[in-house]
Symmetry: C2
Subunit: 598 residues, 2 copies
Amino acid sequence: MPQYSPPLRDMQFVMHEVLKVTDELKPIAKYADADVDTINAILEEGGKFASEVILPLNVSGDEEGCKLDPVTHAVTTPKGFKEAYKKYVEGGWPALSGDPEFGGQGLPLVVNQCFYEMLNSANQAWTMYPGLTHGAHAALHSHGTDEQKKTYLHKMTSGEWTGTMCLTEPHCGTDLGLMRTKAEPQPDGSYKITGNKIFISAGEHDMAGNIIHLVLARVTDAPAGIKGVSLFIVPKFLVNADGTLGERNGIYCGGLEHKMGIHGNATAQIVIDGAIGTMVGQPNKGMQGMFVMMNAARLGVGNQSLGLTEVAYQNALAYAKDRIQMRSLSGPKAKDKPADPIIVHPDVRKMLLTAKAYAEGGRALAIYCTVLLDKEHYHPDEKVRKDSGEILSLLTPIVKAFLTDNGHISTNACMQVFGGHGFIKEWGMEQFVRDNRINMIYEGTNTIQSLDLLARKVLGNNGATLKKFGKLIGALVAEEGVNEKMAEFINPLAYLADQMTKFTTELGFKGFQNADEVGAAAVDYLRVAGHLVFGYFWARMAQVALQEIAAGNTDSFYLAKLQTARFYFAKLFPETATLMRTARSGSKVLMDTDAALA
Amino acid sequence: MPQYSPPLRDMQFVMHEVLKVTDELKPIAKYADADVDTINAILEEGGKFASEVILPLNVSGDEEGCKLDPVTHAVTTPKGFKEAYKKYVEGGWPALSGDPEFGGQGLPLVVNQCFYEMLNSANQAWTMYPGLTHGAHAALHSHGTDEQKKTYLHKMTSGEWTGTMCLTEPHCGTDLGLMRTKAEPQPDGSYKITGNKIFISAGEHDMAGNIIHLVLARVTDAPAGIKGVSLFIVPKFLVNADGTLGERNGIYCGGLEHKMGIHGNATAQIVIDGAIGTMVGQPNKGMQGMFVMMNAARLGVGNQSLGLTEVAYQNALAYAKDRIQMRSLSGPKAKDKPADPIIVHPDVRKMLLTAKAYAEGGRALAIYCTVLLDKEHYHPDEKVRKDSGEILSLLTPIVKAFLTDNGHISTNACMQVFGGHGFIKEWGMEQFVRDNRINMIYEGTNTIQSLDLLARKVLGNNGATLKKFGKLIGALVAEEGVNEKMAEFINPLAYLADQMTKFTTELGFKGFQNADEVGAAAVDYLRVAGHLVFGYFWARMAQVALQEIAAGNTDSFYLAKLQTARFYFAKLFPETATLMRTARSGSKVLMDTDAALA
């Protein structure tokens, strides 16, 4: 059974020593009280909740899965899930970063971010039930009417009710313009909705009193394609004027998917049979609210893989210290034992450090993004709001795709450390691999993320946003360029940043002549951009570590950070050499393949 | 439910047009009758057997798994496995390449290789039951006494009995020197064996009349470590002098592992409780026979991933042509449909071609190795025997590790083509990923393979064997270096071959000073070597294709081959740029990490 120790020290390092989040958020009046001690104390408790209440349900939830009663359409979640959710609600955890107007605690988003990283480490399948609620909440908060907010947001903030995103249909996942679910206007202003949705995470369960489905559908006579799609609230139980639950609505679970992983989460086929819904936002503008949910979900999915990377690393590290097998190539190390612990082997270290470097780099990026999100919405300075929003939009597909691909690499590496035992369910390592695998697919496949990054976020404004992020790198290079101790980090970073500018311009020209050039290069481009961003944060983390060491701080945490930074730049960052080469090799070798793919 | 169409045309291309295997084997008297038509006809039937009898049991076998009766210790395999095995035996399939002295059909090994590739595509879990028998058979054939051969080999050749390899114990997998299983000499020359083995594939089942376990154990008072390990035959049922089955021996299944994949194969904990065994080969020289099994198994494991890569590719290709979603970036292609088939998207093509290029490159290498194995054992010219054996020993860890890592990349890419549907069990794609995952671990993890390659097979003789393989590349470069049409293949290959020589020398020097340098570089080195070998075979395949096209052959097979070769050199081969850089970055960043890995 996997163990988990919340990485509080590393979170504190990123939040307070590297990014100085409380300083960053100080100009936002509502965060004036959010000090370092408060944040740390909450996360310490949050870590206990994750490791003591949620973690023990991970393996059993995977084994047991969810059960659908075909007559009542009720879904039973694995043993203990419901009780843990009750504790989650009673502890006030759903409301951490919620708007106080609707009962939230009004803490900066970074608190919820770090708390959810820990929940994801403990149990991704369980965490998706409350996790999806945050996206639905955000969509209603930004696009709902006052009445809708009043009706739903208090109970979604408290966690009494959960939320879903009902987008996908059997014939349309990526291509929502093909959607068929219909919404007929009713005389009272509501809509009668009919259709079939699939792959609805947390789509039905026994953990909350109501489920607030946010459903994309097409109003009668709406224009074809994506421009005819509207967003609706379709609650499982209708809500009376006094806030009590009314009739059961015509939206139910028609089947549960049998999946590779996240068995503890109910992935529901949702049948909508004349259900009553109310529209969120304007007719045919459903994608606006949807994108609020989707952007939240994309950051959330990156956070899922961050959590899995961390927990897989911790368990592989413990195993590598404990398991003895063979002698070190450079001579016996544990002479009192019949063999050395496998951590003496260079490649075992490489597998462990891969996961560690990806976890810690991912944590820095994810926390940075949460600060941007707060600044985008609440910073008093309009330019800061605008810049924060732009940079966040650039980084969102990187968080989603780079962190989930890194999670794939890392969970597989950590499983490999266990040898044959990694393949056995008992140890829990293979579950991390299976659970992580969906993260590369849902909320927009990683290919879709790469097109979003290169075509929309980068080339869409001629690289203007990329240049804004590039300025941050430029400032760091200017600041540390003459510091010899930083050279091993700054030099490759500065080199890649230069290359990236040329590379992007080149792809822009090629893409202008042939759009398939963009599609051919995008996945490679996203990973290069991911390393550029990770390289920046790793250099900043190394900078802080070097400063502390120079100041005489003997906490081995800083030496550890420096060692991991060195590893990252020596063994992971050079992936960019191949990626730029393959991206530059263009689209012809992909597209002139009709005979090969006949 | 996945489909499968045996890739007979591609097998024929590799066997007869590229490698000309019947010409190569002509000097071996016993293969004088093995002509092209015979080989093709047998494989055509073999393909039918795999796709019609074995494939339909793949998904159901995964769902059902194996069951152990804790009282009788009997294991029941999934529904249909036993009946399919009966057909396999009745059809004479186990004996294809078996020695006629023991009832075999005496066909070249390449026939069995291609047949097993197809079985692995159809169902890896089922195929492991007969598959393990081949390794045990080979060990007995090379190291058994005449009496042992007489007693066991006829029925193992016919498939009436199956075999296993009992190596691993709970505390020793890689490090067999730690083994504890004991063998006490008995007055009649037999041994009484006691111990616990784990992870024994096909270790107990209901498909054959007897199971011939080949067990590593330590004779009383044997020297410590690997030099005190002997090999024993421990049959499930003792065999009477007349060949009939005698008493049930004290070797039974104490438990079945719950695994990530290959659910249809019984991975048994084997309790050996005073079982009667006879020694194979000399006392304390058990590793000799073990390595005969192990080398066969390593080639066999590579072949498992080759099979999975091929079947995953076929299904992803069909889905990519069928599934419509979004328009092509360069303008609508299927204007009569509401969206284009996803095969119009460059990255979908990249994922498909990755699997195709790895499957076809792997097939060429695997078939080449089988010819080497036949030449090593049976060629009349001693020098050919010696050279063949040496090159095969160099290529074996590459087949095992490179093909299984490529299988991981490919099955994951093909699953990704399906989007969310890839994560759902119903489509069968995620099973290929799970089944393939063990191939990177068992029969020596891929890290162990890389150390075997770099430390033993390359540096162990100062690169002499590598140079022998390099001469083959040199000959191709000399032959085609001035052919402009071959330049896109020959140039990168020749460049890498040059680099490889320097790179190897450099690692030799560094490793001489510090053995951890070898351990730090080995995994990267193996993948570079893998691409060098694949590059060679892809260049040879392109050469044949270009010759056919130049000669006016309009079969689109040749154009397809050329397109896939171009893809391989443009998109996969450049991985070597990063690998050489990371390998060169040395061991210090891995080993000076005690603080980071505290």
